[in-house]
């Protein structure tokens, strides 16, 4: 058997994808988390323009592998776009939930329009099978909702809020969870995986985790990173999003509504640092590296 001929064009594009994905993570870590927001927004705006225009080349004249990398590049534009549009929202006197719901709905429409142009079928977003990878994501999301509550995730509403504010907060949390899954697992991970295999899935999850860098505590950031790896594993194994979407909704609603109500907004267990963070890091390592043999993906 002969080895496949090297494709310099695909290799160069893959390196470019890696550089730009790292740049997106760096913006989150160096500018957004410390609060240099206008600088972050300008850099993200430049990244959107650069990425979109790099991905404009005619794909009919390039190899299949190069075309896949170009599709991944186009999908990557969604991440800096989240920041540019989010910071541009005029939410001065409106609730936090209004802002989250607005950006989630706008981004959701954008992803549905973009998906076919990067070779992703919209049917994948709603496919749910009663198989092990999907159940793994659902159970993982529910359990991590409790862990997020223990590690300090804020409640979705405060005592004394009107019922319409509670309903808006719940709707925003559910919509945001669904849209995050569609963006990060549905479009970003699937296109990255096609371009770079398992490393691509790891990269997409790292970008997802970077969006939570200002979550408040190290343990909470690691909890969301762990959730990202659990959902990524489910999508990698099944090729569909149903389980990950339900798992993420359970995580968001559990951490922000169900567990705070059940425990009267008081964390029942005092988790000690740095042991919690070490344990969560070990769990991330286990989920990211240990093969589970759960695949039900169609060949």
């Amino acid at each position: 058997m002969t080895a496949a001929a090297p494709d310099p064009q695909a290799r160069a594009q893959l390196a470019l994808l890696g550089v730009l994905a790292s740049a997106v993570v760096a913006v989150e870590a160096c500018l957004v988390a410390p609060g240099h927001l206008l600088a972050a927004q300008i850099v993200d705006g430049v990244l959107v323009m650069v990425i979109v225009n790099l991905a404009m080349r005619d794909r009919s004249r390039m190899s299949k592998r190069a075309a896949r990398t170009l599709a991944a590049l186009r999908a990557l534009a969604l991440v800096p776009l989240i920041r540019v549009a989010g910071m541009g929202l005029p939410i001065k006197d409106r609730s936090d939930a209004f802002g989250v719901l607005t950006i989630a709905l706008a981004l959701g429409v954008a992803v549905l329009v973009l998906a076919p142009t990067v070779g992703i079928s919209r049917r994948r977003f709603v496919t749910l099978r009663m198989t092990v990878p999907h159940l793994y994501a659902v159970v993982g999301g529910a359990a991590l909702g409790f862990v997020a509550f223990l590690t300090g995730a804020p409640a979705l509403w405060t005592d004394g809020d009107a019922s319409d504010a509670v309903a808006l907060a719940l709707a925003a949390a559910v919509c945001a969870a669904i849209v995050e899954e569609v963006v990060f697992r549905g479009v970003l991970q699937l296109t990255f995986e096609r371009a770079a295999g398992a490393l691509g899935a790891f990269g997409a999850t790292a970008i997802f985790a970077a969006l939570y860098l200002d979550a408040g505590s190290v343990a909470l950031v690691l909890t969301y990173a762990l959730a990202g790896f659990v959902f990524a594993r489910s999508v990698s194994r099944s090729g569909a999003l149903g389980g990950a979407v339900i798992g993420h909704v359970l995580l968001a609603v559990g951490a922000g509504a169900l567990w705070p109500i059940a425990f009267d907004r008081t964390v029942p267990v005092d988790l000690h640092e740095p042991y919690t963070s070490i344990l969560l890091t070990a769990a991330i390592g286990a989920v990211a590296t240990i093969p589970h043999g759960l695949s039900d993906r169609q060949p």
């Binding site: 957004v32 988390a33 609060g35 927001l37 206008l38 927004q41 300008i42 705006g45 959107v48 323009m49 979109v52 404009m56 005619d58 794909r59 186009r74 534009a77 969604l78 776009l81 989240i82 920041r83 540019v84 549009a85 910071m87 541009g88 929202l89 005029p90 939410i91 001065k92 936090d96 802002g99 989250v100 607005t102 950006i103 989630a104 709905l105 706008a106 981004l107 429409v109 954008a110 992803v111 329009v113 973009l114 076919p116 142009t117 990067v118 995730a153 804020p154 925003a172 945001a176 969870a177 849209v179 995050e180 969006l211 939570y212 200002d214 979550a215 408040g216 969301y224 968001a252 922000g256």
Partner: protein, 80 residues
């Protein structure tokens, strides 16, 4: 909490007036959406692939929502 609009961003926007926020954070989406729509129009005129213009239009949607909301709220502030 959501990664789409984290606390640090919400607090920064809510600590400014509508005018101050739209004259700083609001300018970047406005410039970007104008450039993207001009580029989409140029591609359409040059008969480039439908996928290219669809991608540009998809990217422009959230920016249009942000810019549209800003314009509407600034206009309603002028009304008595």
């Amino acid at each position: 909490m959501s990664g789409l609009l984290p606390d640090v961003i919400r607090e920064a926007i809510q600590s400014r007036t509508l005018y101050a926020a739209s004259e700083s954070f609001g300018v970047v989406p406005l410039v970007l959406v104008i450039v993207l729509l001009l580029e989409a129009e140029a591609l359409r005129v040059m008969h480039r692939g439908r996928a290219h213009t669809a991608a540009l239009e998809a990217i422009a949607i959230p920016l249009l929502v942000a810019v549209g909301l800003t314009v509407v709220l600034r206009v309603t502030e002028l009304l008595p």
